[in-house]
Amino acid sequence: MIITDNLTKKYGDQTVLDHLNLHVKEGEIYCLLGANGAGKTTTINLLLGFIEPTSGSAFINQLNVQENPRTTKLFLAYIPENLMLYPSLTAVENLDYFSGIGGKRLSDSDLKGFLGEAGLQPEAFDKRISTFSKGMRQKVGIAIALAKDAKVLLLDEPTSGLDPKASNEFGLLLQKLRAKGVATLMATHDLFRAKDVATHIGIMKDGRLKQQFKADDISLSELENSYLNTMGYKELAI
């Protein structure tokens, strides 16, 4: 579903992504961990086609992103760190708008169904987004992915700034999507959430993928030690 083949991005002499090889299959959640500037967001930008790679290729649903920028977007949903919707539109209207420009025509009951599935309380459906918390906005983002019937979900720090309850709810939603066969790539700093939701975890530093694990093969403390060691904070590792 998501493949990067020696994906490289350079700005002048600076290499921000160095020969990244990733493979996220159907029903997998791949968490990319790393400090700021590690190359996580660059990877997502390349998969979204927002920037062009210096070399290598990115594939979504077996289609080259650079060659098929519009078609690949039909299969993917994206939730940025701060999901900003139209504040003067309601949750239903925002969902209708983004589904509509994504090519899906949905009835009012379908729209409300997706919002409910994403965990939004029914009383919030017809409220304007300007009154929503970040957690509620993220749920609308998940509803957009559900409504779009996305095969691929790209998440850039989606739980940053969420309270533990909202973060937990978000994790549960990701599991729901996983059960539907969605391939998810999530960039995050949150080791705990990564361990909680991921099927696979990768640690990036300076644009390189330094380590990869199956989430089930590693404990949280091992993950933390591995992360700190990779980042060069050996003195902090237990």
Partner: protein, 476 residues
């Protein structure tokens, strides 16, 4: 996708109160300016009607006097004003040569503030050939007239700028651009649709508010359907140009503040700077001869010819033997000499008058050559033309009046040299002035504005393709 943008753009505009605010502003601006223009037209119409009324009253008096004279009765007016004398009639009972306002005159004051709308050419006067201006308030000249043309050419672009400067930058600044860009639509398409829809809604508001404003001032839109539609087409084309500029600037990935400054800068260039520079250069390259010098020249020429009027009259009669042959009395008085000398003065002055007219023509040609640089000039000129208040319209009126004055003089001169009295039966044959408006087309202005809009749009696409989408999506 267009249907979703269409539906939600309207919702967003309504909820942000843009539609309501725009409707109100447009209605107030169009209503007030149309009313203002209509007031000026009414004043002009009533001035002309008053002049015609005065002429009719004078004519009634003239016919009574002629009747008395023809019946050998004494009349109680100075002898030099008795209308049986063709020169008295030609000087004291002139016709009104009026430029009636056109049906759409309220659109634009144009040159109407500067030039007179009616004159009364006499047989001996010739100042009208040179002096066609009215006394005008300098304050009004400084600030211009608050008419529809002013609102459309100057203020409407500012409303469009306020309505469109941040279509893309607002999405970037509130963070929704990345979510939008993750949908199967390009940013260029999205901006175009968004601006296209804003153009559509604004065009609708402009059309509705213009119709309301026109109805308020009592214009019969159905009767003037063709004029109204060509006016509307011009306004919409002019709006399209400003939306095309907004498209170009929006795609440059600047902040909202930067976009606003850039668009206001372009407003200054196209609306203020270019028209001013084109006019200034026209004045510099083709300066108009001084009217004062020309009037002084005319006065000294008159003094000179007055000294040798007998000689001039002899020469004149040699050139026009028909006058000498038809008159058995052969008596010659003041007016015989005066009219002969006037002809000489006109001939002597014609190089100066021609130089003035040629220079004016050169100035207009110069402006005509460069007016396509600024849609504001094109729109203003087209509106003046529709209103019948353009420089060309007044120049045309001046020429028609000069021609009429010649006809007036030519009609009465034979009476003078044949020493024939003017009588009641000659009255119906007096020449009448009817102003003929030249039929200049306003479609060329509209076509050029459309071409310029297309050009700006293509430049926007070209620059956008060069800078690539990434700058827009990764800057924030």
């Amino acid at each position: 996708m267009l249907t979703y943008n269409f539906r939600y753009e309207l919702k967003l505009l309504l909820r942000s109160r843009w539609i309501q605010l725009l409707s109100l502003m447009l209605l107030v601006l169009f209503g007030f300016s149309a009313f203002n223009g209509q007031q000026k037209v009414e004043k002009r119409r009533s001035d002309i009607a008053e002049a015609h009324l005065e002429m009719r009253e004078n004519d009634a008096m003239m016919l009574m006097l002629l009747d008395s004279v023809e019946h050998g009765l004494e009349v109680s007016v100075p002898y030099w004003t008795i209308p049986s004398s063709p020169m008295a009639l030609g000087n004291y009972y002139p016709r009104v040569a009026a430029m009636e306002p056109q049906p759409m005159a309220f659109l634009s004051t144009g040159q109407a503030d500067l030039f007179t709308h009616y004159v009364k050419p006499t047989v001996s006067g010739d100042d009208f050939a040179l002096n066609f201006t009215e006394m005008t308030s300098p304050v009004q000249l400084l600030f211009g007239s608050f008419d529809l043309a002013f609102v459309i050419v100057y203020l409407l672009p500012l409303l469009i700028i306020a309505f469109s400067y941040n279509v893309l930058s607002a999405e970037r600044e509130n963070g929704s651009i990345r979510l939008l860009a993750a949908q199967p639509i390009t940013i260029q398409e999205w901006v175009m649709q968004k601006l296209g829809l804003r153009f559509f809604w604004m065009a609708l508001l402009v059309t509705v508010t213009l119709i309301l404003a026109f109805l308020l001032i009592g214009m019969d839109i159905v009767a003037q359907a063709t004029s109204f539609l060509s006016f509307l087409a011009l306004v919409l084309a002019y709006m399209l140009f400003w939306f095309a500029l907004a498209f170009l600037i929006n795609l440059q990935a600047g902040s909202s503040a930067k976009n606003a400054v850039a668009l206001l800068g372009l407003w200054v260039v196209f609306v203020l700077f270019v028209p001013s520079v084109v006019n200034q250069l026209g004045n510099t390259f083709y300066p108009m001869p001084s009217r004062t010098l020309m009037i002084n020249e005319m006065r000294s020429l008159k003094e000179e010819v007055a000294k040798k009027q007998d000689e001039i009259l002899d020469n004149f009669l040699r050139d026009h033997p028909e006058y000498a042959l038809n008159d058995t009395t052969q008596s010659r008085g003041f007016y015989h000499r005066y009219m002969a000398s006037q002809r000489l003065i006109r001939e002597e002055l014609s190089p100066a008058v021609n130089a003035y007219e040629e220079q004016l023509q050169k100035q207009q040609d110069w402006i005509g050559r460069f007016k396509w640089i600024s849609p504001a000039i094109l729109a203003q000129e087209s509106l003046n033309e529709m209103a019948g208040t353009s420089t060309e319209n007044y120049e045309d009126f001046r020429k028609q009046v000069i021609a009429f004055a010649e006809t007036w003089r030519g009609h009465l001169t034979p009476f003078l040299y044949n020493n024939r009295d003017f009588s009641q039966k000659d009255y119906p044959n007096l020449p009448k002035f009817i102003y003929q408006k030249s039929q200049a087309s306003t479609w060329s202005g509209l076509a050029i504005i459309l071409v310029l809009s297309g050009l700006v749009y293509l430049i926007g696409i070209f620059i956008y393709k060069r800078q690539k989408e990434r700058n827009i999506l990764t800057t924030f």
